[in-house]
């Protein structure tokens, strides 16, 4: 916007008269409207000629509609989403069939993980397809609204309490099909609580469509890519170091193995996961209305990833699944804040025109996501270092009768740190949203008047 642009309220430079408004009528009176039809001629009475009935107007009527230019970006994203969600639905059906075939001889872990994947892929993929089709039709999506975060928080406490009571009282686990819903909820509810908390603090700055598709991308696409990358990198590292770098059963005297494991969990995993968790939000980055929305849709992707990963970990606890569920109660914080920060970083780098220190902010956010993850993962290896720290982290800690160790306390400290970052970032984003920010160029270009991306229409 130019400060001298009268349409934007700027002052004209001295020496020129103020511009008058564009006249509503041209000074030339014009030529009048052309006749709608040519006049006819009367019939000539002495001949059989019945007269000329009159010709139609001498130009064809022009259609009174100008189509809006096709939104190729939305079309391409819609097609990608449709294909991806179709594959997701098929994959979900396949997992459901596998689960059904193996139902009589399967474990809690498999029922929980495959059941969650099948259900999320089929039901969630169906909802995603609905959103995508509506987007292709140019229909809007409603602003996301969630219950107060206290509700999922209380439910988290309730389901964990049931699991703990079951464990402490020695009540046997139910069959996998009956036990797994409780297990899955202990993976879902903490992450939903964290996401709801952030969304509430930010004032729900996005839509259901963006949240849901970001969630699905984090659950399936990001997880798949991260797994593949981590496996490939792990093999390469094992080959380079000539050591088994993927096993947690580490011989502390084997330097190659310890270094390999450290690189695997503190470098490879954070880079792969934080690099690809925001893949869904990245695709729609150019349509996001601001940094707050970028952070929240990034968190949605991270929440999807966290739930998927956490259910897998909890299931591996078999009879002690509730111990793992309590230990990983803040995994949603780690993944969702990480993905939110990474998305925010990309937003500042690619769409932050006019934002002060945009590159520093962007790179800082991306670096934070990776470093946070690396520190969290790396802390688990402290137990391998012989000495007083190992003794401290391995010391038994009882949490409502659950057998934990000192690493649980360390995890709680790290969760508290990430929660503090979440509060600070949402505070800053909320303050930023309440003050006018420069409108990015990408939002200005398609519309004749400079205005933020509208909340209605097909864009959201």
């Amino acid at each position: 916007m130019s400060p001298t642009d009268p349409q934007q309220g700027g002052a004209m430079p001295p020496g020129y008269p103020p511009a008058s408004a564009y006249p509503q009528a041209a000074p030339n009176p014009g030529y009048g409207a052309p006749p709608a039809v040519a006049p006819g001629y009367p019939a000539y009475p002495n001949y059989g000629y019945q007269g000329y009935p009159g010709a139609p107007g001498y130009y064809l009527p022009f259609p009174n509609v100008v189509r809006a230019p096709r939104d190729n970006y939305r079309l391409v994203v819609g097609i990608i989403c449709t294909v991806s969600l179709g594959l997701t639905l098929l994959g979900g059906a396949l997992f459901a069939v596998i689960l059904g075939v193996e139902s009589s001889n399967t474990s809690l872990s498999i029922v929980a993980v495959l059941g969650y994947i099948a259900l999320t892929a089929m039901a969630g993929g169906g909802v995603g397809l609905y959103f995508t089709i509506r987007a292709l039709m140019g229909r809007p999506s409603a602003t996301v609204r969630l219950p107060n975060f206290i509700i999922p928080l209380l439910l988290t406490v309730a389901v964990l309490a049931v699991g703990i009571v079951q464990y402490d009282a020695g009540i046997p686990q139910a069959t996998p099909w009956l036990e797994s819903p409780l297990l899955v909820l202990t993976g879902i509810l903490p992450a939903v609580t964290i996401f709801t908390f952030a969304a509430q603090r930010l004032g729900f700055p996005t839509t259901w469509r963006r949240v849901w598709l970001s969630f699905l991308s984090g659950t399936f696409l990001a997880a798949l890519i991260a797994i593949i990358l981590e496996v490939i990198a792990g093999f390469a590292l094992s080959f380079l170091l000539r050591a088994d770098t993927g096993s947690l059963n580490v011989d502390a005297s084997n330097a190659s193995q310890v270094i390999g494991l450290l690189i695997t969990v503190s470098v490879i995993a954070p880079l792969a996961e934080e690099g690809f968790k925001p893949i869904g939000p990245f695709i729609i980055l150019w349509r996001l209305s601001g940094p707050a929305e970028a952070f929240l849709v990034g968190m949605a992707a991270g929440t999807g990833f966290a739930i998927f990963e956490t259910i897998g970990y909890i299931g591996s606890g078999v009879g002690d699944w509730v111990v793992i569920a309590v230990l990983r109660i803040g995994a949603g914080l780690l993944h969702s804040v990480g993905a939110g920060m990474a998305t925010l970083g990309w937003y500042y780098l690619l769409r932050g025109k006019g934002v002060a220190q945009r590159y520093a902010k962007g790179l800082g956010c991306l670096a934070y996501a990776v470093v946070q993850h690396g520190i969290f993962n790396g802390s688990t290896l402290l137990q391998l270092v012989p000495g007083p720290l190992q003794d401290l982290l391995s010391a038994p800690v009882w949490f409502f009768g659950l057998p934990m160790d000192g690493s649980f306390v360390l995890a709680l400290v790290l969760y508290a740190g990430i929660a503090t970052v979440l509060v600070m970032v949402t505070n800053a984003l909320r303050k930023g949203a309440s003050t006018p920010t420069p409108v990015p160029v990408a939002d200005v270009a398609p519309t004749p008047a400079a205005q933020p991306t509208p909340a209605i229409g097909g864009l959201r």
Partner: protein
Amino acid sequence: MQQPDVQPFAPQPQQPYPYAFPMMVAPPAKQYPVPEGRRVPTIWTMTLIVLAVGAALAAIFGGLLRPVAPAPFGTKVYANSLAQDDGAWQLANDPANMCVFANGSLDATADETATTTSPSCTLSAHTVTDFDMSVRLLPPAASNTVFLAAIFVRASETDGVAFIISDTGLIDVYVPNQRPPVLSFTADQWHANMSAGNVFVIQAQGSTYTLAMNGVEVYQGDLNGYAVNAAGSGSIALGAAPPVSGSTEARFTDFTLTAP
């Protein structure tokens, strides 16, 4: 000449394309109302509450209905905490397949050089027919070994079944000269945090085997037709199953053997 009321070539106010022909004026973009979504939080809340209550009830009542471990038989044949050698066990002394009384337990180890899964700690003082055996499985003492326990029920030197138990609670049942396990399942009562141990029970009555983990029955059947009947000459042995690479270890305590 009278001026028309509307100047056809004059730009219309608020139109986006002032230079267009009058008939090409684009209609205003259709404004779809955005639903407020007030009902959605309520629906979410109710759904979450219903799911949580349902899951809790299913887990608790489903657990209470699980069959418990079979009661041991009336005659106690043998019992030992396995903290010390009582002479009832025959211990292998092969570096690839070792068994010693150590770390407060009967400690069996195996490494990748072992070619077959074979018993390393054999209860030689007692033979069995129908029996009920209970043993507590403890995690490895060495940090760089993997838990992989083996429990053998042998009708003879060449006939028997082996129960291989991994640190995830997976139980594979093998018979001699057959590569894939004849039965494989995960004991869902398995404590992955093995510090307190997992109590495993095998009860054999004829060709019916009942397996229990931590007080809950996890299998009952004839091992897919491969159950062995020891018929008075059978023996029970413990050990560690050899790994593909590295080394494995299993520690056993609180061994009890009863007979009808």
